[in-house]
């Protein structure tokens, strides 16, 4: 078969694979050796928190950057993962048949029935992996199968985030209301007060993030990845080739949701609190800005962007609380309007990117095209009036 293989693509694929290997190596060294050596345990904990956001960002990069689905409700999946983990930790802290402290305070009715299964660590872990993906698959199929327009999907996912937060706040006896769940003592038998265990959590988060990057890398270079980009650019055309784009898109959306759920689940023991403030509309959209800055269609861009934005938020909002909101608003305005490809599309890094991206089909295409804007052309409304999306 290789006789048909063009020399150029073979060379670039090889070079791309090397670049990716080197990239992963560097990332692993930074995360596992350098960061623990130079950061205080407090700072390392913060980095662990950023890594959790980065997990959500990896999924957003896949669904939004590659799949063209503007996912504005990732906070919901993050929140499901987080609340599941928090429920388990609260139940475990309370001991066998015990009632979590906050419940005992505000109500005397005991533990709600739907909490009970999560006394089991295994049930909880399975639920964290399955429930967010399941909800995403349901919403995805319901919207994509009926060819609901791209903008509609974005708004529906946002409405989901709003409804989820309201639901959490509205049921304080079961969810801790607007305070959320906090004050966790143990994590699967390990004390969260022990710095060694906290470092272990950080390592888990770093390992999980790297694993997710490998998974998404595989999805991006696979035939599925090509198909996903094809769905983003011309969904109808894909249909006429005998594929159901709804399935293709739903898979990416569900994977993104699962990643958000895992991020949320690790967020809880690392940060020590989960509340509706972390899952509503505002944090859900907030997760997108890092992805946009880093470069939505790239592999590393969303991760680096999410970590950078989370770091900037921590440092800036300590000193200028209202300044951070302005900065965030400005980032959305300027990056999305004027630099839709993110920093990854800047000319300075283009040469480097061309090497890295050579194996990466769509990025290579953009670079060769001389057009830095990976425009998800889902709805050319103005070109076609009321054309179908």
């Amino acid at each position: 078969m290789s006789e048909f293989d063009t020399a150029a693509s073979r060379v670039s694929a090889l070079r791309g694979r090397w670049a990716v290997l080197v990239g992963f190596g560097v990332a692993a060294v930074l995360l596992f050796a350098v960061a623990p050596a130079v950061l205080t345990s407090f700072r390392l904990g913060l980095l662990g928190k950023y890594l959790c956001y980065a997990m959500v960002a990896v999924g957003i990069g896949l669904a939004w950057g590659r799949g063209g689905m503007l996912v504005l409700g990732q906070g919901v999946f993050f929140g499901i993962g987080a609340y599941l983990m928090a429920m388990h930790l609260k139940l475990a802290d309370a001991g066998a048949d015990g009632v979590p402290d906050f419940m005992a305070l505000i109500s005397s009715s005991g533990v709600p029935g739907w909490w009970e299964p999560f006394r089991s660590g295994w049930v909880t872990l399975v639920a964290i992996l399955v429930l967010p993906a399941l909800l995403a698959a349901l919403l995805g199929l319901a919207t994509f199968r009926r060819r609901v327009r791209g903008a509609y999907f974005a708004i529906l996912s946002q409405a989901l985030a709003a409804a989820f937060a309201i639901l959490l706040i509205g049921n304080p006896t079961a969810t801790g209301g607007s305070t959320g769940l906090n004050n966790f003592v143990g994590f699967f038998g390990f004390s969260l007060r022990d710095p060694v265990n906290r470092q272990m959590l950080y390592f888990i988060a770093a390992g999980v993030l790297l694993a997710m990057l490998l998974l998404v890398r595989q999805l991006m270079v696979s035939r599925y990845g090509e198909l996903l980009v094809a769905c983003r650019d011309s969904e109808e055309r894909v249909r006429f080739l005998g594929y159901d784009p709804a399935t293709v898109k739903t898979v990416a959306f569900a994977v993104a949701a699962m990643m958000a759920g895992i991020g949320g689940a690790l967020f809880v023991p690392i940060v020590g609190i989960i509340s509706p403030n972390d899952v509503g509309i505002v944090p859900s959209i907030g997760l997108l800005i890092g992805v946009a800055i880093g470069g939505r269609t790239t592999l590393a861009g969303p991760v680096l962007g999410a970590i950078a934005v989370a770091w900037a938020e921590t440092s800036l909002s300590e000193q200028f609380p209202s300044g951070w909101t302005y900065a965030q608003g400005l980032m959305f305005m300027l990056v999305v309007a004027f630099l839709p490809g993110g920093l990854a599309s800047l000319g300075a890094v283009r040469g480097l990117r061309r090497k890295i991206a050579a194996a990466d089909p769509t990025v290579a295409a953009e670079t060769a095209d001389g057009d830095p804007a990976p425009v998800p052309a889902t709805e050319p409304r103005h070109a076609h009036g009321g054309a179908q999306a």
């Binding site: 009926r146 959305f332 050319p380």
Partner: protein
């Protein structure tokens, strides 16, 4: 019977508020394809305009009447500013307008907090709008009736403007076929700006009306924007009548679901109903048929 009348009225009243919030969106999102998340903050700006007018003028009745056109102007100018600086370069990527305008919305909210404080402020209603009206043994709050009347007036005015005035014809022509409109000598740039002015101005008016419902704060817009978008989605793109029907249907459904459950469950059920509705009619109540492959 009591419950029925009360619930129907609550539905109409909630619907009229949704409608005022969504009417401008039906223009900017429905007709132009821009997903303006800052629409909620234009509503907020309208509400704060009413607050400022009352501080300046004192008399509640006079200030309310002055506030309505003033808020229209304030909202409209904000919209024009947004359109001219950012959105005009983004018509070919509508999904990104959502994120850009979200940034604008964050900034406007923070500005409001920095200027007016984080606590809510009250804009007392004039005497002729406080208290109930008794009809056939039922009492209806005057302010709610006023809002209902205003919503209807806004719809009528907008439909007439779109149908009868040269501007309206230009807007409709541009929406239906941009290239053709351009080659027929219509300045689509000017039409875009004007459409955005009217749509955003309507948000300002909605803001004034919301001051009659309670105290206002910087997150006033956030609480209405998602519902308003749902109205436009259910109504269908590019149709004012769709938005009207959708607003009253959603308002009525919400008031009934809230009556039989709680407000927080109602939100979830309403969303599920919207998703279910889109299964049957993916493009809303009124759909535009085309055969082009986009």
């Amino acid at each position: 019977m009591d419950v029925l009348v009360t619930q129907v009225f609550n539905g109409l009243s909630g619907g009229s508020i949704l409608l005022l919030a969504a009417l401008g969106l039906a223009l900017t999102f429905g007709q132009m394809g821009v997903i303006n998340m800052a629409h909620g903050e234009f509503i907020m700006a309208g509400a704060y305009t009413a607050f400022v007018m009352q501080q300046v003028l004192g008399a509640a009745g006079l200030s309310l009447l002055v506030s309505l056109p003033m808020a229209f102007l304030v909202g409209g100018l904000l919209g024009v500013l947004l359109e001219a600086t950012l959105l005009r370069r983004m018509y070919h990527r509508p999904l990104d307008t959502l994120l850009v305008t979200w940034g604008v919305s964050l900034i406007l909210q923070q500005l409001a907090r920095d200027v007016f404080g984080t606590a809510g402020v009250d804009v007392p209603a004039p005497g002729w709008l406080s208290g109930p009206v008794e009809v056939l043994g039922f009492s209806f709050p005057r302010s709610r009736l006023f809002i209902l009347a205003l919503a209807i007036a806004a719809v009528v005015a907008l439909s007439l403007a779109l149908r009868l005035t040269p501007l309206g014809r230009r807007i409709r022509a541009t929406v239906q076929n941009r290239q053709l409109a351009e080659s027929s000598g219509i300045s689509t740039r000017r039409t875009d700006v004007l459409t955005f002015f009217i749509g955003s101005g309507l948000a300002g008016v909605a803001g004034v009306v919301l001051t009659l419902m309670g105290s206002i704060s910087s997150n006033l817009g956030t609480s209405y924007i998602v519902d308003a978008f749902l109205v436009v989605i259910v109504g269908g793109i590019g149709q004012i009548k769709g938005a009207v029907i959708a607003a009253f249907v959603l308002g009525t459904v919400q008031s009934w679901v809230e009556y039989s459950t709680t407000a927080s469950i109602a939100k979830v059920i309403l969303l599920a109903l919207v998703v279910a509705f889109l299964q049957a009619r993916p493009q809303g109540i009124f759909q535009v048929r085309t055969r082009s492959l986009a």
